[in-house]
Symmetry: C2
Subunit: 456 residues, 2 copies
């Protein structure tokens, strides 16, 4: 028998606390601003959208936040998730690098997203909320929220970006199976949607537009609130169960990573994987390289500006300090729908500005090439979003080979691609291509940014 492949934890090892990196950041993130007054937000400003417990978590600087028993109990359905040594892939790439991947695709909806949908719905339920609205790209987040609302007995309304709604019919069916109402966004049931459709009836939609619609529906009804699957601090924090488990599992393997890689949409997967390792850099002076992998067609980290911007397209949300392509940026309809977001979460943006993390932008074809090779070597078909991280792993593993150094790489395989098989079909049929953004395209959203808002 060859090397050990799987490192398993039992449900007793499910973390009892989330890690809040706000306690350890050398420069704290800038405060979100009220979109009208442009003054820092207070908790009350967020109350129409979120339950108070999540608002508290959003601004907390406590290092550790307790995970409620009911949430840990729900986590038991799929956590702890396995850590794999990618022995077959290492052999295929003929690399001296040791490659580990944490696999989050075993959750009910098939990605890391239920790590936060479960606590979000739980806290909403405890505060008497009966319905949640949200947006979704490829459907990973929408299906995770549909599952969680079903689990705790709440209603759910999902605005799914139109291009993904059409590309990924199976994920819509999954949301329906769990009782959610799903709309192709932009819709004509919101003012925001009607406005966009009037300007551009053929728009493929975007996460920013879908957020506008979901937020509008939430503020209309006092027992309805809004739920976001990434970007915000509390969402990123809920995902830290991934990295916290991975630390234990790498200990079992007698290893510690030189490089941690995760795909990047709004930041939740990246943060959940990397922040618990970043803590070692911040507290103990370790030098783990944490690399966010973003699509070249939506390169906010590598080509965006660090400015205050809206989270949605219409401009209904608070202004957040983030690396952004501008809230009007509509990315190309790539298959990695979950990464088609114009901005990065505020914490991650601050860390990038402070050069505490890295970012790489990858073209679609390089991603799918890595995804196919991974599926052949390791037997798991990765979601298109996940292939972005894989492409960076391939780059780093081949670099290690060229340099003749043995690096230890940890990668978070955030979800399976079972509902994305048409993407692979298109890839094999030669229908996919890379997207090279012109300066004009890049500036389209950026020129709209309100330069009057100070940022340092």
């Amino acid at each position: 028998m060859s090397k050990q492949k799987k490192f398993l934890l039992t449900e007793k090892d499910i973390p009892e606390q989330w890690y809040n990196i706000q306690a350890d950041m050398p420069n704290p993130m800038l405060p979100p601003l009220h979109p009208g007054t442009k003054q820092p937000l207070g908790p009350d400003d967020l109350a129409p959208l979120f339950p108070m417990e999540l608002i508290k978590q959003e601004v907390s600087t406590e290092r550790w936040i307790d995970i409620p028993d009911e949430v840990r109990d729900a986590y038991k359905m799929w956590r702890c998730t396995p850590l794999f040594r990618a022995t077959n892939l290492e052999k295929m790439l003929d690399t001296p690098a040791k490659i580990y991947y944490k696999y989050e695709g075993l959750s009910p909806s098939g990605s890391h997203k239920p790590n936060t949908s479960i606590p979000q719905v739980y806290y909403n339920m405890k505060e008497g909320v009966t319905k949640l609205t949200t947006e979704t790209g490829a459907g990973q987040w929408g299906s995770a929220l549909a599952f969680a609302t079903q689990y705790f007995g709440l209603k759910c309304e999902v605005f799914m970006v139109k291009i993904s709604y059409n590309q990924k019919p199976y994920r819509k069916l999954l949301m329906n199976l769990w009782g959610a109402d799903v709309y192709a966004s932009p819709t004509d049931i919101t003012e925001a949607g009607r406005g966009i459709l009037k300007l551009n009836p053929d728009t493929p939609g975007s996460l920013g537009i879908a957020i506008s619609e979901a937020v509008e529906r939430a503020v209309m009804d006092e027992h309805t609130k809004y739920s976001l699957g990434s970007v915000l601090n509390h969402v990123l924090m809920h995902q830290t169960v991934i990295g916290l488990e991975a630390i234990k599992q790498l200990e079992m393997a007698g290893d510690f990573p030189d490089i941690v890689v995760a795909p990047f949409g709004g930041g939740s997967n990246f943060a959940g994987t990397a922040f618990p390792f970043l803590r070692y850099n911040l507290q103990e002076g370790k030098k783990v390289r944490c690399i966010a992998a973003e699509p070249a067609s939506c390169p906010k980290l590598t080509k965006g500006q660090f400015r205050y911007d809206f989270g949605d397209s219409v401009g209904m949300t608070p202004l957040l300090p983030m690396f952004t392509l501008g809230h009007n940026f509509v990315p190309a309809p790539i298959h990695a729908g979950g990464l088609r977001y114009h901005g990065a979460g505020a914490i991650v943006s601050q860390l990038l500005k402070d050069k505490l993390i890295e970012a790489q932008a990858i073209q679609q074809l390089e991603c799918f090439d890595a995804g196919v090779k991974f599926a052949r070597a390791e037997g798991i078909v990765p979601a298109p979003e996940a292939t972005h991280g894989l492409a960076v792993v391939f780059r780093e593993a081949l670099k290690a080979k060229e340099e003749g150094t043995s690096k230890t790489i940890l990668f978070n395989l955030c979800g399976h691609g079972h509902f994305d098989m048409t993407a692979y079909q298109d890839y094999f049929a030669g229908k996919l291509h890379d997207h090279h953004l012109t300066d004009e395209q890049l500036n389209y959203g950026l020129k709209e940014l309100d330069k009057s808002i100070p940022i340092t």
Copy 2:
């Protein structure tokens, strides 16, 4: 925190031997007969189709057969699989029964099938075979073989039953991803296929027809052999890793089942789950009820005859002693494509004849109702095949409630339904219905059986 939900084994616990029930059967199975001479088959008769090591396993009466290291090494990609206590489902059904499920959907192709595709391809590779042909219904078996041939570097050709080819495009894509050529059966590239198409150009196809085509292609070339995903003794035996692991896991839970349930197509899932428990009945006088769950539209166990019959539609295979609906029986195009087979494996048939196991036939709507409830309670979307077993679990759990007795039920959830979401869509849209077979339909295939072949 509530009850323990998951019982995990490490890869060190992957069984080192398969369990061969032929060592313990009170009445051995009758021998397969040569289709021409109607005399018992010798190993040489099977040599054009199978490698010698599998032929040896087919007739072996050794109780334990060693699993090669290379096979155990490949098993590590997904084994050991978890055993779950269905705590949420128990609560939903308000039953005193304890329900456990072994989950085989975590394998590369999403079902229990790689448990045998991996060793089958391994033994073929060792004997110099370079290509395998096979049939598949819903695609669970075809994708499992595609994965295994990819893993060991062989070519693969899959004849996929036409109705499933059209219903399940994503599973076809999965086979393509792993390098297999996939045809909608019946095709015009085989004599068998052309003959069927001439008689009935609009046939939805059947597993029996697809087997004829795959066998025909295999015997044409000396480096090509044929691989079967169920029915045969060696296939059933490879699946016993399921039950062997489950015994250890139930020990961890401090439990032992009163009832073991698995869906039934040709018998491999049922055998793999039940035989290791049946051993306790045969050797130690325990009384575990082992229940095979078959579709009411293809009820060979509950309404078939125990006779010698062909494994395929055209009559190219050896004659096997089995419960059968006749090799010409074409079942209704239900979504559980993997269960649309006219006959039961010879060992399972002998055990049923000897009343050592039970069978229940279930209608499609009852199955999907159970599948949806399970997906809502436990967070896993079951394959349509798997919902047949679930329906029996629901029946037994509710009976336990009526009787006020606490039964321990073990169920094998043989695969996820991620590639079967259109089945759920059809179910929710009210497009599915039950299939009540007329006597004429039941007798259509049976009347073709050669009554001259003696059977006791």
